[in-house]
């Protein structure tokens, strides 16, 4: 399968499959890029391509026993290093356990593949302990680190991996891929646009009608923020802070379920902030002039109306506030304070002097 069943990311796929065919696959990879663009899927596809039973040019076939067992995380030579339920970090004990497993020859495949996802969740001790394995992995071992926060990794980790960057997929490309998966052209266009070129987001929206409704409600909330009085904003900050630290639900998973990569810490809040960011960027674009391709085109009229009450500088400040809070949260600032700061710096409708 020449595109490895991925949407977009041709360059990354080409690089990896060429290396595989020529038999000079590096032993450590670092897949970087925004969340939900296909890094995790690519890591899994690489594990499949390495172990696939089909002829070299057809790997991964996604149909053979090896491919299927890897796809469902049942393969004994696929090692997933991720945040365990009830924890916030990947700990050194997990790294040691992985090292032990990697010291044995492959169980059922050609090579053992260890996927570290999210790699930035490794704490400092875990990263340092992992260096030894990265430096000199056992034979028949391929390591794949997955991260959307490359800078949270030690330079010594990064320098030992082959870096492969993934990016957002052009919206038209994503829409075509979604249509090819059976969505109507309108729906495909809409979800591609809403997801801002992130296939992972588009596919989960496509699969879950309730998620689509929740997204619309979140856009609604973002649009109503300027008219939200200050005390209500403080209450909202509190609510969002709780969303940030809420358990990710994996502890309620069935004990027999195979392990899957943990979502980023605070994923539910990131989901909300992604949407807010798209709304505020739409507003900024509308301020700059008509005709710009906006994400939430369905709400074009409201976006225009909000833009009309703001100058470009004010709109940009609001967008920056949303960006800033993400940085703060990643840097471990108290979530409630960070969110309050953002909500208080968003413009207020009808407040003289603040909204032009």
């Amino acid at each position: 399968m020449s595109d490895w069943g991925l949407i977009g990311q041709e360059r990354a796929v080409r690089a990896l499959s060429a290396a595989l065919r020529q038999g000079r696959l590096p032993h450590a990879h670092l897949l970087v890029g925004p969340a939900h663009v296909g890094k995790g899927t690519l890591a899994l596809r690489l594990a499949q391509a390495i172990n696939c039973l089909a002829p070299v040019d057809e790997r991964p076939c996604l149909a053979c026993r090896q491919c299927r067992r890897i796809e469902s995380f049942l393969h004994a030579d696929l090692h997933l290093l991720t945040v365990e339920p009830g924890h916030r970090e990947v700990r050194i004990a997990q790294v040691r356990e992985l090292e032990r497993a990697l010291s044995l020859k492959p169980f059922e495949g050609r090579a053992r593949v260890a996927i570290v996802d999210p790699a930035d969740a490794m704490n400092l001790e875990a990263q340092n302990a992992f260096l030894k394995t990265l430096e000199e992995p056992p034979p028949d071992t391929v390591l794949v680190l997955v991260t959307c926060r490359e800078t949270a990794l030690l330079p010594t980790i990064r320098s030992r991996c082959r870096r492969i960057a993934l990016g957002a997929v052009p919206v038209a490309r994503l829409a075509a891929a979604l249509a090819a998966r059976g969505l109507s052209p309108e729906e495909a266009e809409r979800l591609a646009r809403w997801s801002e070129g992130r296939p992972g987001v588009a596919l989960s929206l496509a699969a879950d009608p309730e998620l689509r409704q929740r997204r619309e409600a979140e856009v609604e909330r973002a649009l109503s923020l300027p008219s939200l009085p200050l005390p209500r904003r403080l209450a909202l900050a509190d609510e969002l802070a709780q969303l940030f630290t809420a358990p990710d639900g994996r502890d309620r998973q069935a004990e027999d379920a195979p392990p899957v990569p943990a979502p980023r810490f605070g994923e539910r809040l990131w989901w909300v902030l992604d949407i807010w960011q798209s709304v505020w960027r739409d507003i900024l674009l509308a301020c700059a002039g008509p005709g710009a391709p906006i994400v939430n085109a369905e709400r074009g009229a409201e976006i225009e109306r909000l833009a009309a009450g703001l100058d470009t500088g004010r709109a940009a400040e609001a967008l920056l506030a949303v960006w800033r809070v993400r940085r703060y949260l990643e840097d471990n600032v108290n979530p409630r304070l960070a969110l309050e700061e953002m909500l208080l710096s968003l413009p207020e409708a009808g407040s003289p002097g603040r909204v032009a």
Binding site: S72, A101, S103, L104, K105, P106, T141
Partner: protein
């Protein structure tokens, strides 16, 4: 699947494979036990991905089939049943095992057997046949010398070399080296050199306890797994990656002093000394004194604990060569003396700083090298 067997037999089979069930694992299937009809028998299998054990239980098979069920629950329940006939059944296309025994009836939720890690069987590879008792002795004399920490994974295994009809087992942890050679009853034409995890060797040793027939030993095509077939049981060991250090050069070829000692007495003295050594860096000092006028040769065993006291014991020794002194870790001394199966042991030394060599007297099949401890004499 519809199968009947005796509780006693099923419980015994489960106890055997239970040693390979993963206790805590990232792969949930490995906490399950696989049940599969196999001709007129019921095949049980479990793996923790380091070892896999398969065991066959005599059964009456009325309908073929397979399932995996949580090993702990199933084993505990079967153990609690009276020794009567057990009927096992899986409804077609269901993932539930139904068990009836006497007036008990249970259903256990299982999982798709095709999700279970594939457990290799002894194929057409090169095979060797080994006497079980000899193999058990061999394992017991080397496995304890393997490293227990994971800093050098190759040292956590037992180097296993099959060449010219002789099986050589070796283990080392950087401070000591144990090498045991045993003849095999039937050997493959080719050379087999692998590293078997010491843990797997210990399990094999346990399984060999009641065996009488020769054990079949082979490796798979990719040399990633070693298979041992016993009567009604098969064990597969996942092999260790890497190259074992060339230990031949670590065994001193010459010595200046050789003392032949009574094994039991030496072990006894070592144990006494160890009591004091415990509080003094575990150091046991040995003085070897050749026969002098009017006195036979002797070995003095001496240990001291700072501020607590000291112990000095001696035993007769048949000494060749110069007087010598050497100090060892009490644990290493006891480890090797405990596993020897002979009446006399020879200790060979060259200097207080070069390794000491232990050999059973009258047997050429074993050598044990221990690094001395550096002490002020």
């Amino acid at each position: 699947m519809r199968v009947s067997c005796l509780q006693e037999n099923l419980a015994r089979g489960l106890a055997v494979v239970g040693r390979a069930v993963a206790t805590r694992s990232t792969l949930p299937q490995t906490t399950h036990v696989l049940l599969r009809t196999d001709g007129g028998r019921l095949r049980l299998a479990a793996t923790n991905l380091e070892i896999a054990i398969t065991s066959w239980v005599g059964a009456q098979v009325d309908e073929e089939g397979s399932i995996t069920v949580p090993a702990r629950l199933f084993t505990e329940f079967v153990n609690s049943l009276p020794n009567e006939r057990i009927d096992l059944a899986i409804a077609p296309r269901a993932r539930q095992l139904r068990l009836t025994c006497g007036r008990n009836e249970a259903t256990i939720s299982g999982a798709d057997p095709s999700d279970f890690p594939p457990i290799p069987e002894v194929g057409d590879g090169p095979i060797a046949r080994i006497d079980p008792e000899a193999l058990r002795t061999g394992i017991s004399q080397v496995e304890f010398a393997a490293a227990t920490d994971d800093t050098r994974p190759v040292l956590t295994g037992v180097h296993t070399l099959l060449e010219e009809g002789v099986l050589t087992l070796a283990a080392a942890d950087g401070f000591r080296l144990a090498v045991h050679r045993l003849p095999v009853e039937e050997a493959p034409g080719e050379r087999i050199e692998i590293i078997v995890p010491a843990r797997a060797m210990r399990e094999l040793q346990r399984l060999l306890a009641d065996e009488e027939d020769p054990v079949v030993f082979t490796v798979n095509e990719t040399r990633s797994q070693a298979l041992f077939r016993l009567r009604n049981v098969e064990m597969v060991a996942q092999l260790v990656q890497g190259t074992f250090p060339n230990y031949g050069q670590l065994i001193p070829q010459e010595h200046r002093t050789r003392a032949v000692l009574d094994l039991k007495e030496f072990l006894q003295e070592t144990r006494r000394a160890a009591i004091f050594a415990r509080d003094g860096s575990n150091i046991v000092r040995l003085h070897i004194e050749p026969a002098a006028e009017g006195a036979v040769g002797r070995l003095v065993v001496w240990a001291r604990a700072e501020e607590l006291g000291e112990h000095r014991g001696e035993l007769d020794a048949l000494v060749e060569g110069e007087p010598a002194k050497i100090a060892f870790n009490a644990k290493y001394l006891q480890d090797v003396l405990q596993v020897l199966d002979c009446s006399q042991v020879a200790l060979e030394t060259t200097s207080p700083t070069s390794p000491g060599v232990f050999r059973p007297v009258g047997l050429e099949n074993y050598v044990h090298v221990v690094m001395p401890m550096f002490v002020q004499w």
